[in-house]
Subunit: 251 residues, 4 copies
């Protein structure tokens, strides 16, 4: 498909961005990533020191998948900025998936700390991909600050509740000029397809694949769903009608 995703000037053929959290082991993760066709995978910097995490980085390099460090686990702007800076040194990339969550129960972003961190990281030369809630105002503010994408959630991390508020996602995609990436909440393939139909440019997910009963197969499912949703968006769907309409006359 000649319809690349472009973020900060870089092209990706795959519109599925993955995370690594939740996988049972590296072998399972490898098969799932390959099946998903992803070209960009986010890794939690706070866990890089662990033995497993080093293995993840090696695995991604071997598979030719770009590493997107993230600041998962950070609760303040200061923590997130520091984590991003350490990641830049360690991984030699100025890209960062910015996460600044408020509390463990919801893992929802803290809008104030998030905005502050985004501004500081943009000023420091980072390509910032912020994980945000689905507030259309906060999305615009992140874009105006200079973020490379906006990445609203469909529902809280790990809930598998899908896209709880499609109206908000549509408000965001109808006004954003940077790519919108649906990040968090995806539970199954139809959720990913819907995200694309609502105008998102890509989908980011982790546990929907890594914690599925068969991660490899779910990786393949998500690949298909993202492609299907993207094609459907471009194809221009039929309108919804209250009453029936026969397919005839016609062929």
């Amino acid at each position: 498909m000649d319809d690349p995703l472009i973020i900060a000037g870089r092209e990706f053929r795959s519109r599925l961005i993955t995370g690594t959290g939740g996988a049972a082991n590296l072998s399972v993760l490898e098969r799932a990533l390959v099946a998903s066709g992803t070209e960009l995978t986010t890794v939690a910097m706070r866990r890089v020191d662990a033995a497993g995490q080093t293995g993840v980085l090696e695995l991604l390099r071997r598979l030719g998948i770009e590493v997107l460090p993230n600041t998962a686990g950070c609760r303040t702007s200061a923590e997130a900025v520091l984590t991003a800076q350490l990641a830049r040194e360690a991984l030699e990339t100025n890209w960062v998936k910015l996460e600044v969550v408020h509390d463990e129960e919801t893992l929802l972003p803290d809008p104030v700390e998030l905005l502050d961190a985004a501004e500081r990281l943009v000023d420091d030369g980072f390509v910032v991909l912020p994980y945000t809630n689905d507030d259309p105002v906060l999305a615009l503010k992140l874009q105006d600050i200079g973020c490379a994408t906006v990445m609203p959630l469909g529902s809280p991390i790990g809930t598998g509740l899908g896209i709880r508020n499609p109206h908000n996602i549509e408000l965001i995609t109808s006004r954003a000029t940077v790519p919108v990436v649906l990040d968090a909440g995806i539970g199954t393939a139809s959720d990913a397809a819907l995200a694309m139909e609502l105008g998102c440019s890509a989908v980011l997910l982790a546990t929907a694949v890594t914690r599925a009963q068969d991660p490899e197969r779910m990786g393949a499912a998500m690949r298909c769903a993202v492609e299907g949703g993207r094609l459907a968006r471009l194809a221009g769907r039929i309108p919804q009608r209250f009453w029936a309409q026969a397919s005839s006359p016609g062929l």
Copy 2:
């Protein structure tokens, strides 16, 4: 994918069954069918006499797509049985998609006439694929009569309203022993993926593709979505949770 759809002993690699109604012309239809990857396409027998329809049959033969005659436009059991018998002679197939609709406003099946026609056609040696509403009881009755599939609607024909009652579709798939085909109402790719996730064995659609702004691209979208939904069903999705769950601990 080594996961064929089997209806009445015949195998299909594609789980997307298409209709031809609504296409602007044969050239558009051809591209859409090819993009969809369909191996089985339903054609309205009541329109076969029209010049365009003859062209459709030739097109399907050329593409190697199996023809599934349907009884669209029939309002009584008697009409439907007669139409099926004429189709069998004309097309040399004992397969029939059985449609007996009640009225033009809703194009909903008439449950009484439908059951009667299904019984008579099964007795007459037909392989009957009945278009039905989403009533789980009627679906069981059609199966018990000897139908080869049950094909509940997602919403009325041509509405593009998707699957209005997923609970009913799940009730049907959790109790059916023949393949369940979601027939009618599909508007976009995520609808098709959802059908498969609910346990349907295939999806049947026409105008969602033929009347899309770009039918070829929508044909490709539906192909991906059906595959994605099927894979997701087989992969075993994560459960839904009220509270968030971090992807860590883990990799």
Copy 3:
């Protein structure tokens, strides 16, 4: 409210029809019925012989609530017709809530047996209020046969899933000429309000009240909700809009 419900020429001020099943004891039931304001309550004839059931009939007489015998537990037209006839003799009413269910798992109506029983009971002089699925075609058929109401479910009995398919209920109310009563599936007050907003003339429910933690309070809740939904329907709601609209200019 000067807006009576009229069924077969009889007027009711309350648009909430209740059932008695599921109540812990007669005292709880009495308080719940009084709080609900109901004027018409359905009783299962198959359970009348039980001691408790006799008490229910006495209770209803004392409260001045009309008894509507029902054929719950019947699986065939013959059983239902016989049960209705026994009820007519025992209770001296020719009204009957007609239930003919297909199986215990879903308690869904059997459309074929239901239609047959309805026709026979109408011919026998009954005022027939049939419990049906939400198929708009079956609803029209029941009306055409001479039923006094049509009573589609929102979802299967006792599930509390509310109205799974508002589109179908709207299709029914937009074409019916007899009162449409939403019967089965109601779980909470907003479900009852929605039924009325979709154009139903009344709501019938039992376990949503009798099995609530506080049946009396839930009876009162349903009374309010039915009134609120009815008033909202009559008042003419504002249209839905994609973009916001300030309440000003204006006062």
Copy 4:
């Protein structure tokens, strides 16, 4: 009902807070307010100079309805704080409904300006009732700052889209210690009932009533719906089930 709403130590018997915007004239507004049973009504301070607005204040005084000045139309914290201070002088109340919206298309709150204004107004001795989005984190922050309520939207102002994200509203009500008031988006009675069932302490609405075809009747509808939803919440609803459950055994 002995179940008062308590905000900042003051008791209200009605849990329906209304706005005045959108009413055709004072006479229509009066009838709608009386029918709604409201005891607290918000008025836009920026429109007080207009002749009509003066009339509104007189009307509310005559009806014994408390005035809640709001800062509608303010786009920055500074504007909102100034408007609140002017309102305090003019109306001799230190209560304020705080609105700081980001843009005219969505009328969504600006989270940064809102938080700043809320903090300054609390410090200045105001009883602050902030209109906010449905972000559970922002709601907690507003509460922690000292706001007397949190008032999340169901959907953007004037859209009538109801509660787009019940999950978020539940996340808010399950963690808030101050009253949660559903503010904005209500279109019809069942929306209001649902808000209460999700655990909100009250509902605030304006155009759903003032712009209905019959504002007086819709005012009465909302009164019923809020009471019904509140009672249902207190009564403890039945759980949702996948399969049916007969109301028998039992009475």
